[in-house]
Symmetry: C2
Subunit: 251 residues, 2 copies
């Protein structure tokens, strides 16, 4: 019942569909099967591995979801031609990220006030005209150095129990993650020179290159928060490991 697997193409994970997947994946990654190459049909793989169609189907669907192959009815499955590099960036919660590096973490609230939603809030986030916005400015420290400067706007009406939050002691990002655990977000990453004010707050020379991350967050279509984080360029690097993909794998 077992298919004889060449030791060099042996994969971690013992289930048959994982072995089939890995075998094909390695042929693609090694360049043995180039873009456009037709993968064996499901019925051919069934015969090769002596298994049910559901098993090879699971392997091929998994490769299709990963963007390595394209499946076309009546035609077969084909190795895709990668066009964009799709990188999975891990962006940890700031506090957790600093602690994970073994550094001391400190948080400081600089400023907090409530006001009416601005025109920008309405236009970029779809906030209600009558909505109230909580505007926060705070700093994150890693081992006594300023690690990040945070400008945040929270749509008060969309966040239940926000009155219970004490942002003098808890970073708003952490509080929100605890209370609105799942959400959708949009991210922009850019490089900007620190002006005099930003430089003072980050305790770096004026003009220092900073990594600027803008993030907007929604839940069920309703805007929750918008935040801009300034990182001194030498302190924060975003690192990731990936494989190219053909088209957006994410929906």
């Amino acid at each position: 019942m077992q298919h004889i697997v060449n030791p060099t193409e042996r994969a971690r994970g013992d289930s048959l569909h994982q072995r089939i997947r890995s075998t094909i994946e390695q042929r693609i990654l090694s360049g043995e099967w180039r873009p456009g190459h037709r993968i064996p049909f499901e019925h051919e793989l069934m015969a090769e591995y002596r298994c049910a169609r559901m098993t090879v189907n699971k392997a091929l669907q998994s490769l299709a979801e990963a963007g390595l192959i394209e499946r076309r009815r009546r035609a077969g499955s084909f190795v895709r031609r990668p066009s964009v590099h799709s990188a999975v960036l891990a962006i940890p919660d700031i506090q957790a990220g600093i602690l994970a590096r073994g550094l001391a973490y400190r948080y400081e609230l600089l400023h907090a006030r409530r006001c009416r939603a601005s025109r920008a809030d309405r236009e970029t986030m779809g906030a209600l005209p009558t909505g109230t916005v909580l505007v926060l400015r705070c700093r994150h420290f890693a081992a006594r150095r300023v690690f990040a400067l945070e400008h945040r706007r929270i749509m008060v009406d969309a966040v239940p129990h926000i009155g219970d939050a004490d942002f003098a002691t808890e970073p708003p990002g952490s509080w929100l993650l605890r209370h609105i655990p799942w959400h959708e977000a949009e991210l922009q990453i850019a490089a900007m020179n620190a002006d005099a004010e930003i430089a003072t707050l980050l305790e770096v020379p004026s003009g220092t290159a900073c990594l600027v991350v803008d993030r907007q967050t929604w839940r069920a279509g309703a805007a929750i928060t918008a935040v801009r984080l300034w990182f001194p360029g030498d302190l924060q690097k975003l690192v990731t490991r990936f494989t190219p993909t053909s088209e957006a794998g994410a929906k």
Copy 2:
């Protein structure tokens, strides 16, 4: 045979396992089911949707792969607590990205020479001591402005037919993507001030904040290329849309 689906929880995609998946996903994203909440058992969902176990299994496996739930034998499936934000960054090929924006693209090779692998090549990329490295420096233009400056090292011995490439006319990234379509890579994103030399080449004032992307590429464990790209900070923004995840969904 059909389960009666509430119109508000109706999903795109008509297959049953997609509907089951979407229904559960919306309960999680809306906050109705908070982290730690136990999803109904597979046999309960079978009864609710009057379908086979494979069908609910496919829906739950898909949610587990997406990082929204955690599955534990004997215990059940539970909504996960997100800890890191995992963003899928789309990083297009430079030429394709500029053309996609409707801008004119131009490429210029500044410098090319072959030399022995340096100590850094060996240490950071695992290049062979006797290996030859092709060192390139080039610029990418979008509508007459300098869009990016590229420093690249290619491990000549690992890339067949590289002698056929004409990097005076074709950007090395495009040539490599055509000839080594699938690979693994590691990416670092940082912000740096342009020094005098970089600023001159980018045609921006000295000290301008730049987005610096370092990428190293392997195929089947063998180093292919390492590249550093400098983007003027105001020109290139990396944009992405995502949902938080619990732990690394990528392997």
